[in-house]
């Protein structure tokens, strides 16, 4: 059997667009087994916006798994937003994993927002001022938590859900100067080390949908402006 994954990121909901996202999800249960949200669910990361997101996702007929994005952290309300989403039945992953059963097979999802730093050969190093070291260490710590979560994951299909990009391929279209703020190769390195079937991310609104890691794992940028459609659907065939 195959697992059908619907995914979208950067939906940036707020009171002004209340109800519109839910409309676009009509009939999703016929197209997909699970909906994954790749962060930036809000615009300003406020509790009010978090409530809109929770209301739009409440009682969807398929499971919803999400990670937060940088916008969702802006008002320091990420914990409250997470709690609101949990109350609405949404699983929010913060460098953790969850396993769902689809058609009798286990779909394992490792998720977290990820972070920046840049890509191999053109990236920040853990060197110099404490602020620089802290920036790079944040990404390194996240990558390590993903690696451990993937190592421990027992599942038939393995998907990584992120906000920041693990590869450059899916940033094509963004100005190269800002790549270090859009993702980090450390994320891809960790996933390549433990293996996965698919990596989904958002964040890069001007990027492209399709790419792959150096290890050959498929990467899809599902940021809403990139997709131009309500969500992408990716089906993973059984091994």
């Amino acid at each position: 059997m195959k697992a059908r994954i619907a995914a979208v990121g950067d939906i940036h909901l707020g009171e002004d667009v209340r109800g519109k996202f839910r409309e676009r999800l009509a009939g999703i249960e016929e197209r997909a087994d699970v909906l994954l949200l790749a962060g930036d669910l809000t615009r300003h990361g406020t509790v009010e916006e978090g409530k809109v997101v929770a209301d739009e996702l409440r009682d969807l007929p398929i499971p919803v798994v999400a990670v937060l994005g940088n916008h969702d952290y802006h008002s320091d309300a990420q914990d409250t937003i997470t709690a609101l989403l949990n109350d609405a039945g949404v699983t929010v992953l913060d460098d953790a994993s969850t396993v769902l059963v689809c058609h009798g097979e286990r779909l394992g999802i490792v998720g977290g927002k990820g972070f920046g730093g840049g890509f191999a050969g053109k990236c920040a190093s853990e060197f110099g001022e404490p602020e620089t070291k802290e920036f790079v260490r944040h990404t390194k710590d996240i990558a390590e938590r993903w690696r451990i979560a993937l190592k421990e994951l027992q599942a038939d299909h393995r998907v990584v859900l992120a906000h920041y990009s693990p590869v450059k391929d899916t940033l094509e279209g963004e100005p190269k100067e800002i790549y270090p703020f859009l993702g980090s190769y450390l994320l891809a390195e960790a996933v390549d080390a433990e293996g996965a079937d698919l990596i989904l991310h958002g964040h890069a609104h001007l990027g492209t949908e399709k790419g792959m890691t150096p290890g050959g794992i498929r990467v899809r940028n599902v940021a809403l402006p990139v997709l131009g459609r309500a969500y992408g659907v990716y089906s993973l065939n059984g091994h």
Partner: protein, 83 residues
Amino acid sequence: MAHEAPQYVAARVQRALAEGENTHELGIRVDVRGDQLFLRGKVSTEERRTRLAGVAGEAAPELKVRNEITVVEIRDPGEEESL
């Protein structure tokens, strides 16, 4: 201020769009050419498009704002991709 380099004006407007309480829009390209300020990018609603032009105009009142931001049309999910 009369001789502020256009690059600094564009950077100031871009910062206002990214950091402004009512905008927080990071993906807008800002270019200054002569007395014109061009905004390009994609947003989800007409209201957000208009709001961005308003904030840009406040950040650079001496320039004529050319709002070339487009509102994204969201299509149906379409076909699934088999991996």
